[in-house]
């Protein structure tokens, strides 16, 4: 009998990838809620991993007409031990025994559970977010190119074959190679015409013979030769890239309790993750301040415990200095996010405002201020509240009260706005 054994193991595994995407798309609302919940619950050290998502089964059911409970239901079961005909059994509590068929998705669980992988999780987390006002500046890093046409080549891949050029070349070659022969033919034809009157003479036969040979030679010139082929040449041209730097300014003064600091860090972790994922070439500058501001590395920013009084303007001063030294605005998009509990040294707040309005805001694309306080608006908030009117596109401030606020506020600040 004819048969065939095929090893399919090396072939694509992801046959269901499209269907999986369709599923995620259809239930994106549910999944987004679950992702938001998950982000709020997670500790700041493990923001980026997959997540088990559960959706109420009811919402994803595929209904069909089926028999419900009630009426006379008969059933045959295996494994009788003590029953005899006519026995009566009380109904088991909770439902009339054999109702409709159980769903095929699992044993009566109410939730449909599945695993969202890390990629998908982060996609949902940062969906529709962007850095506002990002513009392309200056030819910088050398790894952003676009391909442009630049003449023709004799070699290349078939996809780049330029038909018009090739045929044009072929025609020129055919004309050039055939010129002499065509001249001969013309001469021979004239001779033949001159001899038209004569009957079948030897001379005439010879000319006809020569003519045939010449025509054959002409036919042997190939219509298209390897030699004629021309390919489009593509050259790489550098394009301006988006280069951006994000300043993270965090207050670590004594008034920031452990809880408040944790919220602030949560915010910056999200920000950091978002930048790493969507804007690979973004630089991040971490500034932490109490009475004095320091530029620190990521590790220290998130984990160090240094503390002291509060002078917010020190951080802004430091930012100003760093921008002037390292990030000229003609080649950098500058962003800043500031988190604080809003308490400040007397008289320092107006100074902060002036620094922002005069020196910093003209330079940056976007400045976000997050105040973490459970009670009334604090000093800094009040001082800052005049700024949004002056720079409606560039300055945003939000208040955060509890962990659950962080992610919504974050989304709110970086929501993609309709253009």
């Amino acid at each position: 009998m004819a048969f065939l054994i095929i090893d399919r193991r090396q072939q694509g595994k992801q046959k269901s990838a499209v269907n999986r995407q369709r599923f995620l798309k259809r239930f994106r609302k549910h999944i987004k809620e679950a992702v938001t919940d998950a982000v709020n619950k997670r500790s700041i050290t493990d923001m980026e991993r997959g997540e088990e998502i559960s959706i109420p089964k009811k919402d994803i059911a595929e209904p069909i007409f089926r028999q419900g409970k009630g009426g006379k239901q008969r059933r045959v079961l295996p494994g009788n031990k003590e029953f005899i005909r006519g026995d009566r059994i009380n109904r088991p509590k909770g439902g009339g025994g054999s109702g409709g068929k159980a769903s095929n998705q699992g044993e009566g669980m109410d939730e449909f559970v599945f695993e969202l992988n890390q990629q998908e999780f982060l996609d949902f987390m940062f969906e529709d977010l962007e850095l506002p006002n990002l513009v392309r500046k200056q030819l910088k890093d050398s790894d952003s190119y676009k391909l442009v046409k630049g003449g023709y080549l004799r070699d290349g891949i078939p996809a780049r074959l330029n038909v018009v050029q090739s045929l044009r070349g072929a025609k020129a070659r055919r004309i050039a190679l055939g010129g002499a022969i065509r001249r001969d033919i013309k001469a021979l034809e004239q001779e033949l015409e001159a001899l038209a009157d004569e009957e079948d003479s030897a001379e005439r036969r010879e000319i006809t013979c020569k003519l045939d040979r010449a025509r054959r030679r002409l036919n042997h010139i190939p219509f298209l030769d390897d030699f004629d082929l021309r390919y489009n040449n593509m050259i790489r041209q550098p394009t301006p890239t988006t280069s951006a730097v994000m300043f993270c300014l965090m207050d670590v003064s004594g008034s920031m309790t452990q809880d408040i600091k944790d919220l602030a860090k949560r915010f910056f972790v999200l920000l950091h993750l978002f930048l790493r994922r969507h804007y690979e070439k973004t630089e991040v500058v971490f500034i932490r301040h109490h009475t004095k501001a320091d530029e620190v590395d990521e590790e220290e920013f998130f984990y160090s415990r240094e503390t002291g009084g509060t002078v917010v303007s020190s951080a802004l001063e430091l930012m100003k200095t760093i921008v002037a030294e390292r990030y000229p605005t003609d080649s950098w998009n500058i962003y800043a996010a500031q988190a604080s509990d809003g308490e400040n040294w007397q008289d320092d707040s107006p100074k902060c405002r002036d620094l922002l309005v005069k020196n910093l805001l003209p330079l940056v694309q976007y400045y976000a201020y997050v105040e973490i306080s459970s009670g009334r608006e604090q000093e800094l908030w009040q001082t800052y509240s005049e700024i949004p009117e002056l720079f409606p596109d560039r300055f945003a401030m939000r208040n955060v009260k509890e962990p659950a606020d962080i992610f919504p506020v974050f989304r709110d600040l970086f929501e993609r706005k309709p253009k």
């Binding site: 399919r8 595994k13 992801q14 499209v18 069909i64 409970k69 008969r74 005909r85 699992g106 695993e115």
Partner: protein
């Protein structure tokens, strides 16, 4: 017969060994047991590919739809958590017969699976009357390919959302897409492609009957207006394909595709016991024969017996592992019992089965395989011995009664009743609600009325029915009513218009409940 050397020992399989098994099993199956099969195409796949195959519900290639993604995610989740193991094999009713074998099966399992799928299921697909009449094994792969391409073309032209919504609606009515009492025409992908264009145009003209508004001379009185449809229609999808007034040609074609696929699966839904029983019966016999000939070693045959025992394990009804009757167990027990009744009949067997007791067992099982479906197979062949072995008993749960009563057990009074009720349990037309297109209001608002006839006072599942009605409305696009009849009285009436679905209790004519 002189004993031969085992083909291979241990647990690692090789391609050579698979080939040798295919050949040897094929030899025994054809020469000794007259199993007639399609050519085999064995495909070795990994666990992940098996999950892919699962989620396309037994089609080698499927069109794209979110529900298949859901299936995949759920399989993946449960497999990862260890709630389920994956099947050793998956076999497709096609010519050549495609069987997927998991790479991680041991040598013994591969041999078992080849016997089970490539010869058991395969010969069932080729021999059983339902499959012969309802499916065309050589055309199905091409047809599904055509369907897939057509649907993705529609997605490009009309948008994924529109196609998805339509498929949702069609899937909801898939079980009502079959003419139970008529034989379908075989499908052929080439013809389908060729005729699809003509059909689109033609159909669109036909539908316009519903739209014919030009008055025809003097109108006759209302009762003379012909009833439409002239007879109730049980095939809802077919009815929509031909008559739904507002469907676009491409939408009709998709309705047709889903309907054709429903027809393809219809025999499988009616032969679960027989199909699995037949395959299990043959893998058991074939593997034992291989062992008798010395082609598999002692160790491997023990492994086989253990797997086989697991496959035919039937937990009792009160066990936590119970999830219905195991089709492998029942089917295997019945086919084995037919052989026993033929070879060593008792007096009881002679009384119950005068036709085949003491007859030729091979002829009898072939006859049973070819000419029955689950329901009639049980009715014809379920013997008292099998009822006793499985200790089957039947119960009745009547909501008018305060308790569930045991109506029959495995004794002389009970055999016939257990057998009839078990047969009913596999009778699709008794397990699925009976719903038909009753009438379309041609003169009025073009609303459609469906009728559900309750059997044994069993109502529709109300929540689901409401959801499905929305899908019916999506296809018909005018108001839809569903009357549920209990003993000729209207028990419930479901209504669906463009905004909402609601239910009336049918006792009075006034509308009561609303949702």
């Amino acid at each position: 017969m002189s004993k031969r050397e085992p083909i291979l020992e241990g647990s690692e399989w090789t391609f050579d060994a698979l080939e040798a098994f295919e050949e040897e099993i094929g030899r025994i199956a054809a020469d000794r047991y007259r199993l007639d099969t399609y050519p085999n195409q064995i495909e070795i796949i990994s666990a992940e590919q098996m999950m892919d195959a699962y989620s396309s519900v037994g089609m080698p290639i499927g069109y794209h739809h979110w529900s298949f993604g859901k299936q995949f995610l759920s399989t993946e989740q449960r497999y990862r958590k260890g709630h389920i193991g994956l099947a050793y094999e998956l076999v497709i009713n096609s010519n050549p017969c495609i069987a997927y074998l998991m790479e991680e099966n041991s040598l013994t399992l591969q041999a078992l699976v080849i016997a089970h799928a490539c010869f058991g299921h395969n010969s069932f697909f080729k021999g059983n009357y339902l499959f012969r009449e309802w499916t065309d094994a050589s055309a199905i792969v091409n047809y599904i390919l055509f369907a897939r391409n057509y649907i993705s073309e529609c997605e490009e032209r009309h948008g994924v959302e529109a196609v998805e919504a339509l498929l949702d609606s069609c899937h909801a009515l898939m079980n009502l897409g079959v003419d139970r009492f008529r034989r379908p025409r075989p499908i052929s992908a080439d013809q389908e492609r060729q005729r699809q264009k003509e059909r689109e145009d033609y159909l669109q003209q036909q539908v316009n009957d519903l739209w014919r508004t030009i008055p025809q001379k003097k109108q006759e009185p209302e009762e003379k207006w012909p009833r439409f449809p002239s007879e109730p229609q049980e095939n809802l999808l077919y009815f929509f394909e031909k008559n739904a007034p507002l469907l676009e040609p491409w939408e009709r074609e998709i309705v047709r595709i889903v309907r054709k696929i429903a027809v393809y699966f219809y025999p499988q839904r009616q032969t679960k016991i027989m199909n699995e029983g037949w395959a299990t019966f043959w893998h058991y016999n074939l593997m034992n024969d291989l062992y008798d000939e010395g082609l598999i070693s002692e160790g491997n045959v023990l492994e086989f017996l253990q797997s086989h025992t697991n496959v035919v394990y039937q937990p009792d009804f009160d066990s936590p592992y119970y999830s219905g009757l195991n089709p492998y167990t029942l089917g295997f027990a019945m086919f084995s019992d037919i052989r026993r009744v033929c070879e060593a009949p008792t007096d009881e067997d002679k009384r119950f089965f005068p036709d085949h007791a003491g007859g030729d067992w091979l002829d009898t099982v072939h006859h049973a395989m070819a000419n029955y479906k689950d329901e009639s197979f049980i009715l014809q062949y379920l013997s008292p011995k099998v009822i006793r072995d499985l200790k089957l008993f039947s119960i009745m749960d009547d909501d008018a009664d305060s308790a569930i009563s045991v109506t029959a057990i495995h004794d002389d009074f009970g055999y016939r009743q257990v057998r009839e009720e078990l047969a009913d349990q596999y009778n699709l037309s008794k397990q699925e609600p009976d719903i038909q297109v009753w009438e379309v209001s041609l003169r009025g608002d073009r609303s459609m009325t469906l009728k559900h006839i309750q059997r044994d006072r069993i109502p529709l599942d109300e929540d689901d029915a409401k959801e499905v009605l929305k899908h019916v409305h999506h296809l018909w696009r005018f108001d839809v009513h569903l009357e549920s009849l209990r003993d000729d009285n209207v028990h419930r009436v479901y209504h669906c218009n463009a905004e909402k679905v609601w239910v009336d209790s049918g006792d009075s004519n006034k509308s009561a409940a609303a949702s």
